[in-house]
């Protein structure tokens, strides 16, 4: 099962390597990991997507919690949550009809073209991982120059929140 674990960690050098080191040392999967400072500069917010049986996920959350740098964590997939990922795609766009096709496809996915040259478009797209996958699939493989994905971030719906 795929799980999204949100963490608040001390914003200190080494915190990230402790967490990623835990995953590699114990043989757990990391599908994606994102991290950035929060509105409180002493804290970082991290989102880890991982897969494993219930037992492994239980161990992952316990082991993460045991790390001294981890202040708080939550497996948000246990609740009602929203998940988004952001992607930049650089595609070849050389004359017509290629340029119009890319533009049309991007409109369908509600993507935005954020950089344009004579030969390329750079497209920004936000959505669930599946949506990003679908966009890439719909785009002709040969057209794709470069893909940058942020990894998932998630937040709980409603009043529940991961805060101190």
């Amino acid at each position: 099962m795929r799980h999204i674990i949100s963490l608040l960690v001390e914003n200190e050098a080494g915190a990230l390597s402790r967490i990623s080191g835990l995953f590699s040392a114990r043989g757990y999967n990391i599908e994606s990991l994102t991290v950035a400072e929060t509105e409180d500069p002493s804290l970082s917010r991290m989102t880890i997507t991982t897969t494993g049986s219930d037992r492994i996920i239980e161990q992952i959350t316990k082991q993460l919690h045991k790390l001294i740098d981890v202040v708080k964590l939550q497996d948000i997939t246990e609740g009602n949550y929203i998940e988004r990922e952001m992607m930049f795609v650089k595609v070849k766009a050389e004359g017509e009809p290629q340029r119009s096709e890319v533009k049309r496809l991007s409109d369908i996915f509600r993507a935005r073209i954020i950089d344009v040259t004579d030969t390329t478009f750079c497209i920004e797209l936000t959505g669930s991982g599946d949506k990003l996958d679908a966009y890439i699939k719909a785009m002709h493989e040969n057209n794709i120059v470069e893909v940058v994905r942020s990894g998932s971030m998630g937040i709980l719906r409603g009043e529940r929140a991961l805060t101190l």
Partner: protein, 583 residues
């Protein structure tokens, strides 16, 4: 009070009540060593290798319950300490290891003797710190001691760049008596409802079993454990790490469990219907194959570390909390409840256990001219009245020590259970002897293990640490040889140590007493002599049967009820069967 970083470190250690630090100087810690030299409150023990420093501090910690403290230099000083840090980590021993680091401005430049100590030790510490600001030095040290000694204890490394310790930069110092860490809140109380449920389940048992580990000793919960087990009258077993929490000579203790535990303890584990586990972690050497582990039991697991619970074996009633507090509450709950122990069921359970016990699974055959390793340990037990502190290295001798030296008190049995570190025993014995100079301290070892830290004989001389070394010398790396005998068709690959040193002469060269014993009849005299020489380190080189094996044994992939028993025991069983006496 204005102090330099080095002075802060020393003053802090004094304020923290640290009596001994074990260490080895070097470039990055020169300022600290200069500050050490100017005072007399904290005594520094100069080891001969940083691994020895960590093991000695570890032995001190295990024997006293206080944190062990080390000071080593950057680079190789730090990497040499890693084995000892990992040893402490696996057995949850509180250590604070101060590592010197190259000056802040040189970090990351591949400077002389630079290693990323925080990175290198990350996987084997409870936590580690790099001190980047002199103003946070005292606070960081306090955090290190706090983290090392609370919750599930463990080693903490504090990496200190040389410029932080510069003598000419002084700042105001005040001992930070308290510490506040929002991200670290160990549990201090077990959940009352879970404790009540556990007690009800425990009292309803027909075939109960109590299984305890090092956590009971670490938390000082042995008195509570004794009360609990005696109140219930249930059979109990202890792990290698737990020996001594419950008296080894008490009839309710049915021996150590696991790979080389007693037949009765392992059979009782297999057949029990309720298992109370306190402060143990279902290690693979304990459980055998987990799919066949305790197939009939409902399991209550008490542990301070939530991640220990349901890690390898699922618990039916998990209780996260300190052993002492949780057992204390269990005792109260037993007094309060109307539920009662099923006495007839317990009686017949004990009968069954006694029938297993009658097989005497540790039995071995003595030979007239050849010392059996077991009898050496038994002799040591007699000569020391079972009251010595025993450290050990790793291998067959470690198992014999655990099987034949019956520990009646906690913190007397000091060995590397989790990591299985050869070379642990001698330096650990030094740490114990420092803490208890009036007590007998013996290191049971083998000719393989002792050579991994034998340089510490020199430290024993320098600081007058008269430990007794009981070297069970079979000229083989015995445990590996045993596995090669059983599982590799006797292909003894690189387990014979040719060109062993003359240990008697070697000890004498270090300024100690060496005695060689090769006849069973001389064992007693030699041991008596070793302990009579109160103020001398004595190296007893005991030449033992080369191919003695440790029995009984649960092989890889086997369950508790699938133990291999010794040939001697097999023959006895065959005889009993013939007579129709075997159940």
């Amino acid at each position: 009070m204005e102090l330099s970083g080095s002075e802060i470190i020393i003053q802090f250690l004094k304020d923290e009540g640290v009596e001994y630090i074990f260490g080895y100087p070097g470039g990055a810690v020169l300022h600290i060593y200069d500050a050490l030299e100017k005072q007399n409150d904290v005594m520094h023990i100069l080891v001969r290798h940083e691994q020895g420093a960590t093991h000695a501090a570890d032995g001190f910690a295990r024997a006293t319950g206080k944190p062990g403290v080390c000071l080593v230099t950057s680079g190789p000083g730090a990497t040499n300490a890693v084995t000892g840090i990992a040893t402490a980590y696996m057995d949850s021993i509180p250590l604070v290891v101060l590592t010197g680091q190259v000056p802040s401005h040189a970090i990351g430049t591949d400077a002389f003797q630079e290693v990323d100590a925080v990175g290198v030790t990350r996987a084997c510490v409870k936590h580690n710190f790099l001190v980047k600001d002199l103003n946070k030095l005292a606070e960081t040290l306090k955090k290190a001691f706090y983290v090392a000694t609370t919750g599930r204890p463990g080693p903490v490394v504090v990496d200190i760049p040389k410029d932080i310790t510069a003598p000419h930069i002084k700042i105001p110092y005040e001992y930070p008596a308290t510490v506040d860490m929002r991200s670290y809140n160990p549990t201090f109380r077990g959940h009352p409802r879970q404790i009540k449920r556990a007690v009800e389940l425990l009292l309803s048992a027909k075939r109960p079993m109590v299984y305890t580990g090092g956590g009971v000793i670490l938390d000082g919960a042995h008195e509570e454990l004794r009360q609990l087990v005696r109140k219930l009258g249930y059979p109990m077993t202890q792990t290698l790490m737990g020996l001594g929490a419950y008296p080894g000579t008490d009839p309710l203790f049915i021996g150590m469990l696991g790979m080389h535990g007693t037949y009765e303890a392992n059979m009782a584990m297999h057949e029990c219907d309720v298992l109370l586990c306190i402060g143990a972690r279902f290690d693979d050497r304990i459980t055998g194959v987990t799919s066949k582990f305790c197939p009939y039991a409902q399991i209550i697991h008490v542990d301070i570390d939530p991640s220990s619970i349901s890690k390898t074996v699922s618990a039916d009633i998990p209780i996260v909390g300190p052993a002492k507090q949780v057992i204390g509450e269990m005792l109260k709950a037993i007094d309060k409840t109307d539920s009662e122990i099923d006495k007839p069921a317990l009686d017949s359970w004990w009968k069954r256990i006694k029938s297993w016990q009658s097989q005497d699974s540790f039995a071995y055959e003595k030979k007239k001219d050849l010392i059996q390793p077991q009898e050496a340990v038994e002799e040591l037990y007699r000569v020391t009245n079972g009251e010595a502190f025993i450290t050990s290295d790793v291998g067959q001798h470690q198992m014999y020590a655990a099987q034949f030296y019956h520990f009646d008190e906690p913190r007397r049995w000091i060995n590397s259970g989790g990591l299985g570190t050869m070379g642990f025993g001698l330096p650990a014995a030094m740490g114990v002897k420092l803490a208890f100079p009036e007590r007998d301290v013996a290191c049971i070892t083998g000719e393989g293990s002792i050579q991994m830290c034998i340089q510490e004989l020199s430290t024993c001389k320098q600081y007058d640490l008269p430990v007794k070394i009981i070297n069970l010398n079979n000229r083989y790396l015995g445990m590996v040889r045993q596995w090669q005998e059983f599982f590799y068709e006797k292909r003894y690959s690189h387990v014979y140590m040719d060109s062993l040193p003359d240990f008697v002469k070697l000890s004498e060269a270090y300024g100690h007493v060496g005695i060689r014993v090769d006849k069973p009849g001389d064992l007693n005299d030699a041991m008596v002599e070793a302990f009579r020489l109160k103020d001398r380190t004595v190296f007893l080189d005991i030449i033992t049967d080369q191919e003695a094996n440790v029995y009984p044994m649960i092989s890889n992939g086997k369950a508790h009820n699938e133990m291999d028993i010794s040939p001697l025991q097999q023959a006895r069983q065959a005889e009993l069967k013939k007579k129709g006496e075997l159940v």
